[in-house]
């Protein structure tokens, strides 16, 4: 490892490079995560008791989740809603990605991509806040629906999970479109033409030619969207209500209101396990490796 770096950069630069990487990987990535896991298996004690006889490893912090029905319900809802957000986002994104990659002329595609990139650059909080205004009880959406006569009285979009789902699809859609677009773009258009000439309909062409080719992109998009949705704090705190809390909000409360960091660490680790599990599941379903995803 060192000899290869030394041959290219000389020893002092090689030491510097390895040192920087070591500081980052050990000090910021690996050790903090391990310590969080360690924390999650310990009880919440007064500082004087740490290291004393009560400071033993246990599964107590994990049992809390299963004995507290409200937390368990929110935990399961968070997983389920994140899957829903991912599926919905995929459904909306795929036609756009396909259009940009294969149907649009290069000029059209370049223009559309620029349009797509702009909201992507804007702060997630502001994008979510924009939906807060639209979905408000006396907001423009209700005003429009009332004006058109679709509804008799305003709908409370912001007291339930509906607002949160809409906000999340909006916030994370570009993390889905771009990987799929990149994957479809690398498909040789002649393959699509060949399938069409040989008599395959549009649905069959997509199912047998385009989607198999776009698999790594779809997998990446799904993983990113699920991870962002399950780990989102901004969207549910802005568009949700006390009745539609997200698991991240429970974690936050353990840290800053309950004052039980050990308990919070256990919940955080559970969230991480769910995300890792989802990544493993998607990789298995789509039969892709980690190397494909990172591209």
């Amino acid at each position: 490892m060192f000899s290869q770096l030394k041959a290219r950069f000389g020893s002092s630069l090689a030491v510097g490079i390895l040192g920087m990487i070591a500081i980052w990987l050990l000090g910021m990535v690996i050790l903090p995560q391990l310590l969080m896991v360690d924390y999650s298996f310990r009880p919440n004690l007064f500082p004087s008791e740490i290291g004393g006889p009560k400071d033993v490893y246990s599964l107590g912090n994990y049992e809390t989740l299963f004995s507290n029905l409200i937390h368990l319900k929110i935990f399961l809802k968070t997983i389920w809603s994140s899957v829903l957000v991912t599926a919905l986002t995929l459904l909306v994104s795929y036609p756009i990605a396909f259009y940009l990659a294969k149907v649009a002329t290069p000029r059209q595609a370049a223009f559309c991509l620029l349009l797509l990139v702009i909201p992507f650059w804007i702060n997630e909080i502001l994008r979510t806040f924009a939906w807060y205004i639209i979905l408000a009880y006396k907001g423009p959406l209700n005003a429009m629906l009332l004006g058109l006569g679709f509804i008799d009285r305003p709908i409370r979009f912001l007291s339930g999970d509906g607002g949160v789902l809409i906000g999340m699809v909006y916030a994370y859609i570009l993390f889905m479109i771009f990987p799929i677009y990149n994957a479809i773009e690398s498909l040789d258009s002649n393959q699509v033409k060949a399938a069409r000439n040989l008599g395959a309909g549009w649905i069959r062409t997509h199912w047998r030619v385009i989607i198999p080719h776009a698999k790594p992109g779809i997998a990446t998009g799904c993983i990113m969207t699920f991870m962002l949705a399950a780990g989102s704090y901004a969207v549910p705190s802005l568009l949700g209500s006390p009745g539609s809390r997200w698991f991240t909000q429970i974690i936050y409360n353990w840290f800053f209101e309950g004052g039980d960091w050990n308990q919070g660490a256990a919940y955080a680790f559970l969230l991480l396990i769910i995300c890792i599990g989802f990544i493993a599941l998607v990789m298995r379903i789509f039969k892709v490796g980690l190397g494909d995803i990172a591209k």
Partner: protein
């Protein structure tokens, strides 16, 4: 052919609806800034006003939060960009066992939810008796922003022609000179873009920052707290200013990037 035409038009319709969906929220948010109403909305329209911009300018807490955000973002830039460059250089040089593992490890902060990055940093530094604040925010954000920098620099590095380096070395340049005079200038555009992205990512970050900020509120955290308590169209004015700046930067960046691409291809 008839069904083909229908398909074409329905695709166009879908694209139109999609872009409407993408931009309407931002436009409504911007318009609400100019509505003379205590609560940010566009319905009903109560008349045109610019008073929310002056209300914003007089908001000392906002200016303070902006200052904190800038300090944090500059800190992240200084720490994350060198780390990201080092990782990219390492990955493009090292061949052998464990490379895939190390690459996955370096990518893992991007696949970890932001709240968890914040929590693990908070717990780790508590053991060293450091509590939340600007420093921890810089460290926590660097954890994942360094990985973005790595990806961007690596993408350019993969197109680098190693023979240029070897030529310099065989003509008597030291390894440092070859790095300083050949590789670094080649990487410069990628490093500048990565620095820009790092700054923006830091500035916008909410989920990670929330856990490690201590009493130092960044601008993004400030906006979120304003939406929940004490919401006035001054928040829209702030949003509009931020959106305008990002849109201008985004267009400048994209145009520049495309021009470079067309030169190279």
């Amino acid at each position: 052919m008839k069904s083909e035409t229908i398909l074409r038009w329905s695709v166009r319709f879908y694209i139109g609806v999609f872009f409407l969906y993408l931009f309407t929220p931002l436009i409504i948010m911007g318009l609400a800034t100019f509505n003379d109403s205590r609560f940010p909305t566009v319905s009903p329209w109560k008349g045109f006003t610019l008073k929310w911009f002056s209300a914003l300018a007089e908001d000392d807490a906002m200016w303070h939060a902006l200052w904190i955000s800038v300090i944090v973002a500059v800190g992240v830039l200084v720490v994350a960009v060198p780390i990201g460059i080092c990782c990219a250089l390492f990955l493009s040089t090292f061949q052998g066992r464990g490379k895939t593992f190390l690459y996955s490890l370096m990518m893992s902060p991007l696949l970890t939810p932001g709240v968890i990055v914040g929590i693990s940093t908070l717990i780790f530094w508590k053991g060293l008796s450091v509590s939340g604040g600007v420093m921890l925010t810089v460290i926590a954000q660097t954890t994942f922003i360094a990985a973005y920098v790595m990806l961007m620099v690596l993408a350019r590095l993969q197109r680098f022609d190693r023979t240029l380096e070897n030529a310099a070395l065989s003509l008597g340049a030291t390894q440092w000179q070859a790095f300083r005079r050949i590789l670094l200038p080649y990487l410069k555009p990628a490093i500048i873009s990565a620095a820009g992205i790092a700054f923006l990512q830091s500035f916008e970050n909410y989920n990670t920052t929330l856990f490690v900020k201590g009493y130092d509120t960044t601008l993004t955290v400030y906006i979120a707290s304003k939406v929940r308590t004490g919401l006035t169209p001054a928040v829209n004015a702030l949003g509009l200013v931020m959106i305008s700046i990002t849109v201008i930067l985004a267009i400048v960046y994209e145009v520049k990037r495309r021009r470079e691409q067309s030169i190279h291809s």
